[in-house]
Amino acid sequence: MIRTENVTKCFGSVRSLHEVSVTVENGSIFGLIGSNGSGKSTLLRTLCGIYKPDQGDVLCCGEPVFENTAIKEKIVYLSDDPYFLPHSTMADMCQMYRSIYPKFSMERYRELVQKFGLEERRKIQTFSKGMQKQVSVLLGLSCMPEYLLCDETFDGLDPVMRQLVKHLIIDDVAERNLCCIIASHNLREVEDMADHIALLHQGEMVLESELDDVRTNISKIQLSFPKERCDEMEVKLQEMQPLSVVRRGSLFTVIVRGNEESLSGWVEEQKPQFCEFIPLTLDEVFITEMEERGYEFTKDLIG
């Protein structure tokens, strides 16, 4: 388990994180969403002990992470801008990581080199950006971490590689109880993998929830009424305290808190001509939740 308690981090006059508390369990994939400059990278770097929090604690397995070598051996941080020693090859970097991470597995390394199909003896600097990302994932997973922090790792990968990396991470979650945190500015990058989702905005945690709960606590209903009852129903629908009502002719689209079970009774009583519960996509949930909180930024997050 890795967690932060009321972590605040400032750089000069810029406050990057403000009282962020988050807990990520082992065997879980945690999606961290936020626009550029929302504090995702700062949070990841604080979690793996690169930054020291100004306030609050970062605990991994109950111990503080900062300058704690025993804990840091279990954590791998995949930076959005991977660094490799000048003129090094993958084999050189492998040597370096082996000397740092005692659990580094040569067996795993060999297996992954095969899977990714990368040339071991070529200078990493001559690789393309996407391939360099692959190298960092390959080396990171070979360290057999218990905690894997990925900063925009999926953004530079092509669809085939994305699928491969996704499978590798899921395998590790299933087999070794890996705890994986994926930061991304795009909801789509994480929604098919994560079981928990958190949203950062201007250094604050706006929303944190189990992915399935996000979607079951909110419903979209399409209803239609006979023409003469439409105006009356438009008023009546406010009784549900809907988050939004859109009327097109005699068809209403209502977004409301609650699930089908709790709402269908009331809806049936109104005797609609037609009624359908439509599951919301994660995008729609996020837009709704955020608009309710007065944020207008979600559109670029789900692009």
Binding site: G27, S28, I29, Q163, K166, H167, I170, D171, V173, A174, E175, D192, M193, A194, D195, D212, R215, T216, Q273, F274, E276, I278, P279, L280, T281
Partner: protein
Amino acid sequence: MRLQCITVDLRDRKQLYEQLIDNIRHLILSGEIKPGEKLPSVRNLAKELGINPNTIQKAYNELEREGVILTLPGRGSVVLTETDELRRKQLEKIEETLTGIAREAEMTGITGAEFLQAADNAWKKTNAAEKEENE
């Protein structure tokens, strides 16, 4: 049972764990998975489908809560024999779907007799298609 029987569609609006539940229910009802048979382990299924193991665990938990399967610690999940209950639930679900269609039919001025005729036709068509497949 074969892992390949269980599938999910990542683009579906329905949540993954719900898809899994429906899928497994169908497999039991159609006799693809026999009562007493073991379901694939959470781990294996996660790896096969490339889905977060927690999602699969959630589906299994829900199925267990409904009494469809039984999970024994260290021995995996076994399908219980009570398919009657499952059948009854399935019938309920079908009736619910039909209610919606019936209401729509009524709104558009279709009579009860016509509706039943349409349902009968649909049933016959399905049976004919199945027979063709078998032959």
